[in-house]
Amino acid sequence: MTHMISVRGLHVVGRRGDGGEVPIVRDVSLEARRGEVLALVGESGSGKTTIALALMGYARAGCRISGGAIAVAGHRVDQMDAGELRSFRGRTISYVAQNAGSAFNPALTLHQQVIEPALAHWVLPRRDAERRAIELFRAMALPHPETIGARYPHQLSGGQLQRLMAAMALITEPEVVVFDEPTTALDVTTQIEVLEAFRTVLVHRGITGIYVTHDLAVVAQVADRAVVLRHGAVCESGDTPEVLARPRTPYTRELVAACHLPVRPKGLDPAVDAASGTAPEPVLTLSDIVVGYGRVDANGLPAHRILDGIDLSVTRGRTLGIIGESGCGKSTLARASAGLQPPAAGTVRFRGETLAGRVARRTPEQRRRVQIVAQNADLVLNPAWTVGAILERVLRFFHNLRGAVARAEALRLLDIVQLPHAVFDRRPPELSGGQKQRVNFARALAARPELVLCDEITAALDPVVAAAILTLMSDLQETLGLSCIFITHDLHALRAVCDRVAVLLGGHVVEQCDAAALMRGAHHPYTRLLVSSVPEMRPGWLDEVVAQRSAAAAPFVPTAVGEGCPFVSRCVTRIAGVCERVRPPVVATADGGRIACHLPPGDLPVLAPGNSTIDA
């Protein structure tokens, strides 16, 4: 047997609503040698997961493997009966899903769940299984490997759960492990730890891996070979460095290009502002905003703060980017600005006018000027309405347009967001993710706003579609003279559309700077961590980063008490005794940035284009 995995002419069909069948995977052939990691790359709907599941002899409800030969570790998967499949899955091949958070049972301890497959397949007695679990926890670089198993799923972070899920997949010592987008839901900073843990375990144990993802930069780090899929068929395959450096098909070239978004050409242009003789005019100003929940103290401040003392302003006609990890309060910031989550303290001002905290207390005119485009286009358009009705409602509400006039205006909005007029009579469930996001945008534009709050508008989209949306947004912003707040956890997207950047951590703004200066000059230690954590499409990048970080690793310290710096537990340059107690002062830098850190400006980490080559 030369190949660990060999698939020949695989066909999978799905059932349509009317009973007919549609091909989902067409004539796919691929193979992987023992110990190799093979990446399945493609946009959503390209059949990546379907193929990965077929390797385990599984087809989703409504789908059927209709042809082809699948051989894994010498077994013919397509010829197995149910009993054989049961012992095959888990023993020979196992699966790590995208969202570990929802894959664990919240009512059982992690240990019970992790060793379950070993007991179910009779591979190990309980005691040995427990010993092996601890060994795997250690290999996965989980904190407190001896005791972490006694905890419950909700007590761990997403990245930790993802590694636990991998431990569970490895406990039966399978020969093949299928990873289905295991880091897509994670932040870049966490992603690095998880990727490194996965890679080490695979290499040490000689396991063959199938890695499903849409992120080419991740592919460059983990996979030996890559198969690019499109519309259920193989588009291109080869050694990873080869595919990434010299893509042969137009589609792969497009995928690679989508990872190299052009950096926004203009930055804040000081010459223009100087020429007009006035300081740039702020549109939205947030001062000392506090949002939280829980018991309220004597000053009216809540015990648990999601946002704590936020000072930000958006310049007219410019885009302010907000970046930070999941849960740092980005969405809350947008919701507070839109009046959907009233702040406990602080003021929101719009062109000098103070806005009420609650949207219900704002005037229609104030509501019209600030529009929010929310994170998940699936939830943000009412599925019961047609696209036309959605747009016409806004036009009628704010501009009192009705009938033919409203219809004409709605069609014009569809033109602006580059959607065909046929979309007018359709309902959101009949649209693709990218189309929904465009409608979402058109609805915001229908109000003729001055400020648009964009919350993770590309998070759920494929890189190619996301790049198109970003281009659209950039163009509209320029032609309509909009001001924007652009919330994201994706540095590429951030640099493609923003003029200025605010870095959010634990509800605090730790740094503000010009987007153009993000990759060079002195920065907050957290900004450096973020920037250097964005995977690059260069094989070997992960090794370099891991080597750098392990050299600089700092012993763990307890988190900040009281007013301390929110980054203190992870900061390698922290000043003991100061950083965990005293709120860092905000210092202005030479190129117009503002950094909240105790380090003297000369000691701040400096980024050079050389050591962070997103620009490449």
Binding site: V359, R362, L381, F397
Partner: protein, 277 residues
């Protein structure tokens, strides 16, 4: 008039086309039973109380298709009337229970926290009384009349409907499109009627269908115990009760109403259940 009727029919058809297959099938089945309930008695060959034959518990024959009952009355005619009473009483009580249940359920979502708490306690209290016991108590106190039956069953099934619709409305109220409407400054009524309610219809229709089935079962139980629909009126449950002696002869008079009852409830249940893929 003709125009608006045609328009309504077209809109109705468009609405049905958008429904999930489960509620759609159930709706079609209900429509069928309605037609029988309304048209059936008009086609009945005999008056329900008319004694037409000396032969009691007669079998199927050309003269009396479904045979005769314990007094020698035409069973086919009585059955058509029984379907009318069962379907109409249960429809009215379901409209009552679901109408109020849904209204209160949505209101609880939109109103202050304590309104919701009081309503919740009230409904939980109602829900904790066994339905048959509750019905027996009310009927013992208020007497056996059709309006009393409708009202009692309406009250019994309201809490369930309240809970379902509140849970649905709560979930939809979290959706970002509701947030977008609020951010725009839409009024509460608009948000409830236009943003929340249209997205509840599918699941709500299933829920209404199920409550109708429960109502049919409860009414038949009551009538079988002699506490439901009283002679000279007749429903499916009382039809079974009065002919129960025919059981020993395997008379159609007791078998056929039982089958019809089963067709009504099991059929609807099946239609609704199929919505799971």
């Amino acid at each position: 008039m003709g125009m608006s009727l045609a328009g309504a029919a077209r809109r109705g058809a468009a609405f049905a086309a958008r429904l999930a297959p489960g509620p759609r099938r159930a709706l079609a089945l209900l429509a069928f039973w309605f037609v029988i309930a309304i048209v059936g008695p008009l086609l009945a060959p005999h008056a329900p109380g008319e004694i037409v034959d000396r032969d009691v518990f007669a079998g199927f024959s050309a003269r009396h298709w479904l045979g005769t009952d314990y007094l020698g009355r035409d069973l086919g005619s009585r059955l058509l009337w029984a379907v009318r009473y069962t379907v109409l009483i249960c429809t009215l009580s379901t409209l009552l229970s679901c109408g109020f249940g849904i209204m209160l359920g949505i209101a609880a979502t939109a109103m202050s926290v304590w309104v919701e708490r009081v309503l919740g306690r009230l409904m939980d209290g109602l829900l904790s009384i066994p339905s048959l016991l509750f019905a027996l108590l009310v009927i013992a106190a208020a007497g056996e009349s059709v309006p009393a039956l409708i009202l009692t069953m309406g009250v019994i099934y309201m809490p369930g409907s309240y809970r379902t619709s509140r849970a649905l409305a709560l979930r939809i109220a979290q959706a970002d499109y509701v947030m977008a409407a609020l951010a725009r400054g839409e009024g509460r009524i608009f948000v409830i009627l236009r943003e929340i309610l249209p997205n509840m219809t599918g699941p709500l229709l299933s829920d209404i269908g199920l409550r109708f089935v429960y109502a049919v079962l409860l009414l038949s139980n009551l009538s079988f115990l002699g506490l439901g629909v009283q002679p000279p009126l007749v429903d499916l449950g009382s039809l079974v009760r009065e002919n129960v002696l025919g059981m020993v002869y395997g008379a159609p008079a007791v078998v056929v109403p039982t089958i019809v009852l089963a067709l009504l409830t099991v059929g609807l249940n099946f239609a609704l259940d199929r919505q799971r893929p």
